[in-house]
Symmetry: C2
Subunit: 736 residues, 2 copies
Amino acid sequence: MPPMNFSAMSSFDPLPRAGSRRLLLAGCFLAAGFAAGAATVKGELMPVPASLQFNPGRLAVAGDFSVAWRGPVDPRLRDGLGRLLDAVEQRTGLTFAHTAAGGFAVAADAASAALVIECAGPGANVPALDEDESYTLEISPRQAVLRAPTATGALRGCATLQQLLQGDATGWFLPAVSISDRPRFPWRGLMIDVCRHWQPIEVIKRNLDGMALVKLNVLHLHLTENQGFRIESKKFPRLHEQGSDGHYFTQDQMREIIAYAAARGIRVVPEFDIPGHATAWVVGCPELASAPGPYVIERAWGVFDPVLDPTNPQVYDLLDGFLGEMAALFPDPYIHIGGDENNGVQWSANPHIQAFIRDHGLKDNAGLHAYFNSRVHAILAKYGKKLIGWDEILHPDLPAGSVIHSWRGPQGLADATARGFATVLSNGYYIDLCHPTWEHYLNDPVPPGSPLSVEQQKLVLGGEATMWSEWVTPETIDSRIWPRTAAIAERLWSPRGVRDTDDMYRRLALVSRRLEETGLAHESYLGPALRELAGDGASAADLRALRDFTDLLEPVKNYERGKQQPAANQFTPLTGLADCARPDSAAARQFAAAVDRLVRGSLADESVSSGVRASLADWKSLAQTLGSGLAVRSPRLHEAAPLVQALTVLAGVGEEALQVLASGRAPAPGWLPAELARLDQAAVPHAAVEFPVVAPLRLLVAAASLTDQRGKFSAEAWRAALQRIAFPPPGNTAAP
Amino acid sequence: MPPMNFSAMSSFDPLPRAGSRRLLLAGCFLAAGFAAGAATVKGELMPVPASLQFNPGRLAVAGDFSVAWRGPVDPRLRDGLGRLLDAVEQRTGLTFAHTAAGGFAVAADAASAALVIECAGPGANVPALDEDESYTLEISPRQAVLRAPTATGALRGCATLQQLLQGDATGWFLPAVSISDRPRFPWRGLMIDVCRHWQPIEVIKRNLDGMALVKLNVLHLHLTENQGFRIESKKFPRLHEQGSDGHYFTQDQMREIIAYAAARGIRVVPEFDIPGHATAWVVGCPELASAPGPYVIERAWGVFDPVLDPTNPQVYDLLDGFLGEMAALFPDPYIHIGGDENNGVQWSANPHIQAFIRDHGLKDNAGLHAYFNSRVHAILAKYGKKLIGWDEILHPDLPAGSVIHSWRGPQGLADATARGFATVLSNGYYIDLCHPTWEHYLNDPVPPGSPLSVEQQKLVLGGEATMWSEWVTPETIDSRIWPRTAAIAERLWSPRGVRDTDDMYRRLALVSRRLEETGLAHESYLGPALRELAGDGASAADLRALRDFTDLLEPVKNYERGKQQPAANQFTPLTGLADCARPDSAAARQFAAAVDRLVRGSLADESVSSGVRASLADWKSLAQTLGSGLAVRSPRLHEAAPLVQALTVLAGVGEEALQVLASGRAPAPGWLPAELARLDQAAVPHAAVEFPVVAPLRLLVAAASLTDQRGKFSAEAWRAALQRIAFPPPGNTAAP
């Protein structure tokens, strides 16, 4: 997971179904517009249950809402119910009955209780990959009954209840519903890189709460990196003491995290990235490296040379001790050993290592890496643990039973499963790259028409959203994880046929509110951050304009930010416009939808174009407010000045296109390329942000260029023509 | 401490300079309007330094800003400088030079550094009451030089630097200035009650950061109460295990808090409230109570009977062990033993205790309390600690050297100092009672014309803002502490003559921004809280109206909330309108100032009345938006409906008064009492909130009633006439 492998950038395709940036933008249009959706899902739930039927009526929720158990009671479930009731109290302002001792009161009579939970047994003590997470939920106007074979299944049902609760003018209620639910994949994860930017325990906890709400069940913690060694080792304290700037999880804290996760039915899989990505290991233990030290903690982003020396017996001594210690700390059977992006520089430069390769018949650096992995595999096996690692560990010598974590491309899954290895997919789920939600959502590990055989498909355990942390702090990380990861959670839980992007976005807005209620800051971080950018003198009108402006921006995608801010490193404050802009602008999506309605229908239809026109007028107005205000006065917003100018240009191009459309006459020759050029100019990213509204504007201009020929096209031909004009293949001229 | 002594409510006057609620409101008018201010303070600093002179020019702050030490370097100061530079980086987006090891780089050459810190010595290891906190700061366009005799003094100077930093169109800078500063009082505290509602360590830490920014130096933690025992006792684990619902500070956490505070030059004074307020003590140790148990943790608010039994030797055994343990944990020489509101019920009902009083010649329950205190004093003395307690411990038998913490009224300070006891003032600083800032600000421990003798005045150590926690959660507590406590900090630090309320409010708005930057949530909690109240279906316009509406509200004052919500207890969610409304509404203050300008000048002056008219129109508009929208649709906002209606009435009354003023003609007979009655009606608190704009509206109506007689009054007579009409003494009719 080399979020910053610049050299590989042109060939690395983080999203298998998307090509160039332009096609991505076009894809947005297609997804929002012409693409046929699956059946719309009623209700608010995310992920959508395996089986869901709404019935007439509702179960009222008031202060007298009572709960009861039927059958055995598991402490984990009792706590889960307590969290559910607490969340409902906080949201509704209701106060449910409490006991004198302080907990929620449980009704003795299940028959008359508003909610009955019937759990067959506690299930595994520690959440496991093969845990039965199924449950059923029957809500009638009289009672809600949640049944599950395990406490984990019941916890999933509690998450569903939390999402089902609604309020309207008459009060709070649960809709009558019949749900029978179970996940599609057993491994549904979120990886958080706590190394490049340290993320303390409170960040982890609130993200665990968010994960529980959308039924994710694996927290993968990336604990060692060039930029930080983030776990306490009592056996080898030099590792964390010298490799972390004092920012690491103590073992007590890690136990707290593991317990917090287990209480929510979530496994914790630790990653210790070896043999590469190892600078922070060798700061305290330079003798383990493949080239002489000393080393300091890496502060920059990218792929670096320091790598453990697989020919050095001390390396295995340390790994045996360290992994044994970690095996005792982490109850999960899987330990992730990374294994990615070993660039081989230190190995190739070290004659002793090259001799070792020759002497042991290992062929090359890749062979040495496989040798290393098999040694590590043996250590893990000794401690009863299974090995998981990134794509690169796949090698003919990789011991059976290992799991391949695929990040590089769709082929990774195919290759690994072809050789009989179980896999977890992260390619297509790189949420740090700031792509829109729909791309992740449609990225199915086993899509319709998958080339994988049935046997191979069984080896696909699931997937993980990966949150690499070059560009996030504890203040901003939630806004990069959420709400988009909820859509990935749905992809991994819900039936394959659930893939209507419009409906996903509708439900995502609601689940985002529920996520906020768990304590996540993906929405609430923005107000203070924008006030900081605006500075002390900003008026309420200034702040509104800045908010509207920021809502039109997105952070640049893929690895573009590193190019925009090449000097940035671990010390750079991440409090700028790019940190306030959020992926997948809802305002831009709404604008694209309005443009889509316009260009699909009658081009001169004022009732449709008026919405587009109003948006353009808003842009001009806020650009004017900012251009003569904060972009001048606030030192933080000087970087916004060119963007404010670009927004004025974008609004102007849009207004010209609307004029042409309203006239119904062909524009003057040269108009189209001139407008597209203006858009190209305004689309150049600046301050690590960009305007996603450029794509719909290109379509608008394309439609205007053909305004007098609209009647000649079938719907399909029209779509194709607009695409060709708006997003011509490189080297082509923009003409129909 | 007895924020909820309902029985004492009518006689307990939390703010010595204010009388009835009406007079309070009138006082607001006077403070904002006619009252003559002291000389306006230039600049942004709060507290205002003892000596401050701005000079021409500015010192630019850019990425090359360099710092250097002159003289010895204290680790505490190094950390403090790191925090300052970090805060500046976060705010400005600049990145200063770092070392490879990760810290900020320090320039070798002090002569050319932008900032030089010259600290004579480290000062006390642990912050102490007699610490020298003075510093000087000289900023020229070339260099800033901070000099201090101790690290604590230098830390105070760093807080000044943090507040001095400004940005404008040309960039970031420190204004050229000469400051020589030292505090007026050595004990400047904030008390946080972590018992009634538990406040975890992160709340304490961010409040310590806020305290440091405004130079407060004592964190007083109220650690035991009827509703919770919040400190781990390793000797008597029953105390915290059974008395806390699991919500307590471990000793490790407390050491972390103490170190965090010490790093900021802040003392931590623990309070163990005995012998009353003791329910949580006797849950685990019922044998210590003065009546047979068992006991459960108290959930309601008020004064309760459970009290330790001073005749029981076991009580002193436990206190000896427990206080010995705490004396080792807390380095500060003072231990607060509470001692307030012992209602004597259990003592009076216990024949054994009454016999003990007789046998020992103790006269009465008060004598027994004094006996108990002298025993506790001896225990503390054994462990090298001094005793501090609330007003009620003052008794002829109180051992010399104890400190009286005065909460009941101004007489407490006089009585205690007359008997030679040092004192700390909290009467007038009860920030939980939701009074406006100016009242606390003008509450001087030793005001001009103080009746205290010079010797007595020397015994006034300072004061403490007290944050009792019946009505606050970790989410809302900051909004009750800040920014008002910054004004109290200024009262306790700055020279007595600094008391211009207008200028205080101007600077308070700025320091509130700086406080927000430390991580305090007094502003940022509101957005999410209002979104919750509004519910899922709220539009942006709905939310804006709700925000504007909430900004016009204040929580009810004094102990009114308990009367409004009599069933509320520790389990009640605090997520309603009263929790979103904040004390000292800025919108209401601005409206009052506009009304003040209007009624002081020419009553028909349209240029002045137009602002008032615009506010009234805004109120009507937002009342309309909410009245037909959220107040109907959102179950959380049903409670707002009567308030929305009241706001319409208030706007209507205001508009009628403006019409009368514009006409210049006397209103019809009966108009005045009718309008005042409408205001009375609309002023009735509901949902534990009220409209502070009622007071200026009363003045507006009063002015309108005299519109044709304005010319007959001198300024002073006019003011008196309006006061008499707007706020007639009880039983009086409203006539001039």
